[in-house]
Symmetry: C5
Subunit: 153 residues, 5 copies
Amino acid sequence: MKAGIADTTFARVNMGAIAIEELKKNASIRTERYTVPGIKDLPVAAKKLIEEQGCDIVMALGMVGGMPIDKTCAHEASLGLIFVQLMTNKHVIEVFIHEDEAENDKTLAELVDKRTREHALNVIELLLKPKLLVKRAGMGERQGGIDAGSLRL
Amino acid sequence: MKAGIADTTFARVNMGAIAIEELKKNASIRTERYTVPGIKDLPVAAKKLIEEQGCDIVMALGMVGGMPIDKTCAHEASLGLIFVQLMTNKHVIEVFIHEDEAENDKTLAELVDKRTREHALNVIELLLKPKLLVKRAGMGERQGGIDAGSLRL
Amino acid sequence: MKAGIADTTFARVNMGAIAIEELKKNASIRTERYTVPGIKDLPVAAKKLIEEQGCDIVMALGMVGGMPIDKTCAHEASLGLIFVQLMTNKHVIEVFIHEDEAENDKTLAELVDKRTREHALNVIELLLKPKLLVKRAGMGERQGGIDAGSLRL
Amino acid sequence: MKAGIADTTFARVNMGAIAIEELKKNASIRTERYTVPGIKDLPVAAKKLIEEQGCDIVMALGMVGGMPIDKTCAHEASLGLIFVQLMTNKHVIEVFIHEDEAENDKTLAELVDKRTREHALNVIELLLKPKLLVKRAGMGERQGGIDAGSLRL
Amino acid sequence: MKAGIADTTFARVNMGAIAIEELKKNASIRTERYTVPGIKDLPVAAKKLIEEQGCDIVMALGMVGGMPIDKTCAHEASLGLIFVQLMTNKHVIEVFIHEDEAENDKTLAELVDKRTREHALNVIELLLKPKLLVKRAGMGERQGGIDAGSLRL
């Protein structure tokens, strides 16, 4: 099994390195890395990782600035990533962190690290043990934050 | 006939279990379940259920948080789900519940349960008795809430 | 010639019945009806009517609620309907009525009736006498309302 | 060479006639006209002009009302027109005029006329003399209005 | 290796000339230029450069006006550019400058020049030395502005 890792020079944290470290620590998985300038370059990078490098899944890692134009870019990139998946029948796990999610640089960096690692674990399960995810259905999980938990019926 | 059930670990209710229970209770239908992290992972999950697992229809079950970014994610997921349908000529019934639709956790959980069950019945009709839906055309039906009813001409 | 009629159980008027009545009254045209739960189910219904039922054109009939989420759903459905057309090279005439277009239930029902009928006539011309539409180019036509008329140059 | 001319009965000016007149006046070009009800019908009309009528380029002519719903329709139509181009590798030149661009009916009609004619000239160059456009790169051209001009470096 | 350069007559700076100069100065790369009227014409231009002119990568260069409609056009163009990439598995580097990013014409022209040149260098690396980009991952790079830099973990 091989996971593609697409990240950007725009991000302020080396997300690709974190993702690879977490994947390697928890599973026997090969990785292929591809760094592009910004998040709008991620969809084609993900598609090339799948179709040209034989990746079975991709993590698309990016940070989103705090301006309206940045939000629009993230929206466009997200739509592109969904289409990559529909064109390839492979999962592309989007790990985007918005700069305005954190109060300062320190908590922002921590959030990037935590969310990237937690999604790396999702990638391992999707690829190797998808039935484990069924057991966590409806648990209100939040990657990088405190889980919301499940509601009582 | 086989229905795919795609749900998420992000949701705060085990929507997949509810859908399967309601489907089994009302029809003789096989089901295949697929749990993914979040709603943006649902489109490819639905497409894989159709193309790799032979499902004739899919329920895409998800909860949507109350922040603007959550609304954007839901919009992106919805567009993806529409494209899955156009690529496969199969229905994917979207069952999304927005957290801000309910006043508290209790009514939210009830809404999730009710809407999921009512859409499960739609799935059965679409699959097994599509002509029954014609009889309900223009009735102002609202899954999970009180029907708006039909207008007098 | 065969026209597909896709409508919803969400709508509060039996739009499909009105469309079929108007089509039959004005032309010798076969019809095929398909009722789905909501407007986001219309794109795949339209595509199935064209590809599986051999329809030469489709009317996609729906009502849109007054909440922001309803507007988003309509936008998603509209994009899907445009893609159906590009995938099939057939017209899908969208007939959407927004609940906030009318002041009360009575005028809303009248608007639904009038717009549906006027678009049924468009469908007949697109299918049987497309050159007649050229004569009406630039006339400021408004289905269901008072025509805006043409401007003087 | 053959140019497709797609316009609408919704528009308040006979844009198709203006476009054809300007094309014929300035080049030896065949034209094929296709009138549809509204701007959301333009994408499939453009695709049919290219694929079924053999057009080498299309002008998609439309007017956009002043309500929010009209803006949404224009956005949807624009996306559709971009996809037609990507599916056919042919240019579709969008000529949309928003009603709120002008102060009164007279200036609106003039704007429609001017923008349509100036885009007709663009169509001729794209089709017959594309290298002439390179000479005008970065000149701040505005079809229908006063050119913004080029900035000094 | 061959880079396509797509730009517009709408832009107020000859972006294509700047991009070609910077590419030629820094690498032995062939270029093909294609100028279109506006940014919404860029997606098909990029696709034609790739599929009909054999370009291995494309720069899509454009300026975006300050009105809401201009923002919408840019959004539509961006989505189109992402789809071109997914249809061709080639990078299309979008270089858009919004008029409201700068305080006056002089700083706007400087921004256009700087961002175009910095993205030309990205194009060279993506094409010839993609592994160099990995070394710059997470560095908070900003083309045309001051880099945001990387965050400490």
